[in-house]
């Protein structure tokens, strides 16, 4: 059973301990968001953006400086974590190393008091159910140190789920796993979430991770929410340069450019018509998949190398107006690039081209028709 989670103007200010800087640290700034019942939400941002603090606020391990947290219809802002009905999976799992897997999973149940108290058999049954859900029911007698990182992660999830929380919170759930396990475990998290229908919020700095399994993602920067939406929507329509840069692998290619007389220029290359935008200096962002190999294309680049990846081909090139040293474009493998040539020319797909104000870095909408 899931639960709607509402955050209203949530703000967390940490008092400053550094005498050299005289301002306090605003970890989370005016965060408002309603998470619908039973959804998987990814909090995404670079390190230090306040995403973990947000998670701790929802959990109750931190109390907000101002703002409200509402679970369902209950205001839980001032409730301690134990009374909120949340399950928390720590980044390092925080499994008790001296207890077996079964004892770890039983631990939260043994804390129940009064009317919530369970019989021994009931506790065991629920622990086994939770273990079966995360597929570690054959490892119940092991100690955490005798398990792999992925298995420990599952135990941590089972321990968080066993008391049937209203909300499941995961702090960087995949960061301690190697690449292969990461892929596997994120599918696992998705599956468990869909089976249990528990409203789940997880924190990550890895956009791929967030995009791949979330129903919704929240992109944060410096404590401020940048954009909230379905992963594909946020990717297809980033609200500013930061979000555009943060989402997508390989990352978006950014050029210095300008709009002049209804035309969009990347450097000196006139790449697209840009209607509805007054003349100004802009940043031009082009997704790697937005390039089309075209002998007569407007975007002229110096060819560095071609990386064949089977399914598609990655062309690494340079452009004088590009912000990064190299620009990377992905084209389908049917196109053959003349690797002996010093230059390569592209035309671009209008839907994959975004322009941003040079000053504010906010997205400017334009029409290419």
């Amino acid at each position: 059973m899931g639960m709607r989670v509402v955050l209203e103007h949530l703000t967390k200010v940490f008092p400053n301990r550094n005498r050299k800087i005289h301002s306090d640290v605003i970890a989370v700034n005016d965060f408002s968001f309603e998470i619908p019942d039973g959804q998987l939400v990814g909090l995404l941002g670079p390190s230090g953006c306040g995403k973990s603090t947000t998670l701790n606020l929802i959990c109750g391990l931190e109390t907000p400086t101002s703002g409200k947290i509402i679970f369902g219809d209950d205001d839980v802002t001032r409730l301690p974590p134990e009374n909120r009905g949340v399950g928390f999976v720590f980044q390092n799992y925080a499994l008790y190393p001296h207890l077996t897997v079964l004892e770890n999973i039983l631990f939260p149940l043994q804390n129940l008091k009064g009317s919530a108290k369970l019989s021994k058999e009931e506790m065991l049954r629920r622990a086994r159910d939770a273990a079966r859900l995360v597929q570690i029911d054959t490892l119940l007698d092991r100690k955490p140190s005798e398990m792999s990182g992925g298995q420990q992660q599952r135990v941590a999830i089972a321990r968080a789920l066993v008391k049937m929380p209203r909300v499941l919170l995961l702090d960087e759930p995949l960061s301690n796993l190697d690449a292969r396990l990461r892929l596997q475990t994120r599918e696992e998290i998705r599956r468990i979430q869909q089976e249990t229908k528990i409203t789940t919020i997880f924190v990550t700095h890895d956009q791929e991770e967030a995009m791949s399994i979330s129903d919704m993602i929240v992109v944060m920067k410096d404590g401020v929410v940048q954009q909230i939406g379905r992963p594909q929507d946020v990717y297809d329509s980033p609200i500013n340069l930061f979000v555009a840069k943060f989402l997508g692998t390989p990352p978006i290619n950014v050029f210095e450019g300008r709009v002049k007389n209804g035309r969009l220029f990347a450097g000196e290359n006139d790449i697209l018509p840009a209607k509805g935008v007054s003349d100004r200096e802009v940043y031009v962002g082009i997704r790697p998949e937005g390039f089309i190999l075209d002998e007569n294309g407007p975007l002229a680049c110096g060819l560095t190398r071609v990386e064949v990846m089977g399914r598609d081909t990655s062309v690494v090139s340079t452009h004088p107006a590009a912000q990064s040293v190299s620009i990377r474009s992905i084209i389908s493998a049917e196109n053959r690039v003349d690797t002996d040539s010093k230059t390569v020319r592209f035309s671009v797909k209008p839907a994959k081209v975004f322009i941003f104000d040079r000053e504010t870095e906010e997205r400017i909408r334009f029409s290419a028709d």
Binding site: P81, A94, H98, F107
Partner: protein
């Protein structure tokens, strides 16, 4: 291969030489002394080998008194000092302001000379022509009879001795336990909080197992240290511990070698070996018990 072996031994030679000279040889020597009957230090001769030295020591009233004192000291001070040190460390860990100051204060006795601490205890407990001592003044204040803690009844002297020992060994234990407590990952406590774990259960099921290797280390070294107690007793009761009835096993060994009644290396060796066997047994028992309760 053979060449390599030789090289290996060559590299080990300095260590083997030193350890052999200063550790192994004396150990064997003590063992030999303890079986040599009527050994004469001056002429380096003996009547023969036998168990007489052990029989003598085990029937010596002073030795039995020393064993009794040592055991009382060990049984009282080791659990008491470890327990109190744990409480102090928990307290230190729980406070934020002035923690460093308190840590320093608790650690001060460790860097203070034993004899200086003994002097302070004299002021606290000793009766002189001028004063009954601080503690007696306190007892008077609450309407009690004054007690001679240094030259008085056995229990009073034993009390001072235990009190003193606990006081002296405490700082080190506090130091070790505070750092052990501080090294427990705070995420465990956060996880426990999210799971609504009662305070007492957090302590018994999380904190204690997490620091159990350190507690165990303190208990083992505490036992060994208390069995070897000697200098503290001298600081309190003077060098004639037999007369004061406060001798310890190590004190007995020393007296047998160099004391006023000394000059008997064979008896001393026998007593030392008996002590060795006792410590070995206790440590083995400790190790066995710890297997179940210590989590590395």
């Amino acid at each position: 291969m053979k060449n390599n072996n030789l090289k290996g031994w060559l590299y080990l030679l300095p260590a083997i030489l030193f350890l052999g000279c200063f550790m192994v040889y004396p150990l064997i020597d003590v063992l030999v002394y303890s079986f040599e009957e009527g050994y004469n230090f001056a002429s380096q001769t003996s009547f023969g080998l036998g168990l007489y030295n052990y029989a003598y020591v085990l029937h010596d009233g002073y030795f039995l008194q020393a064993v009794k004192n040592t055991f009382i000291l060990v049984i009282i001070t080791v659990p008491l000092s470890t327990g109190v040190a744990l409480l102090i460390s928990l307290g230190l860990n729980a406070i934020k302001p002035l923690r460093n100051l308190y840590q320093t204060i608790y650690f001060l006795p460790y860097v203070t000379n034993t004899l200086a601490v003994g002097l302070v205890f004299m002021i606290l407990f000793k009766k002189t022509a001028y004063t009954d001592g601080m503690v007696n003044l306190l007892i008077h204040f609450f309407g009690g009879e004054s007690v001679d803690f240094i030259d008085g009844p056995y229990w009073a002297k034993m009390f001072v001795m235990c009190f003193y020992t606990v006081w002296v060994v405490m700082p080190f234990k506090v130091l070790i336990l505070t750092s052990a407590l501080a090294s427990v990952n705070p995420d465990y406590y956060r996880a426990a909080r999210v799971d609504a774990t009662p305070k007492r259960r957090i302590f018994t099921r999380i904190t204690l197992p997490m620091i159990s290797p350190m507690v165990f280390y303190l208990i083992i070294t505490g036992f060994i240290g208390a069995f070897k107690a000697y200098s503290d007793e001298v600081a309190l009761f003077g060098t004639d511990l037999n007369a004061a009835g406060m001798n310890t096993i190590v004190g007995y060994v020393y007296d047998m070698l160099y004391g006023d009644s000394g000059g008997y290396p064979s008896y001393a060796s026998a007593a030392a070996l008996i002590l060795f066997v006792i410590v070995l047994t206790i440590t083995c028992v400790n190790l066995l018990v710890s297997k179940k309760h210590v989590h590395y």
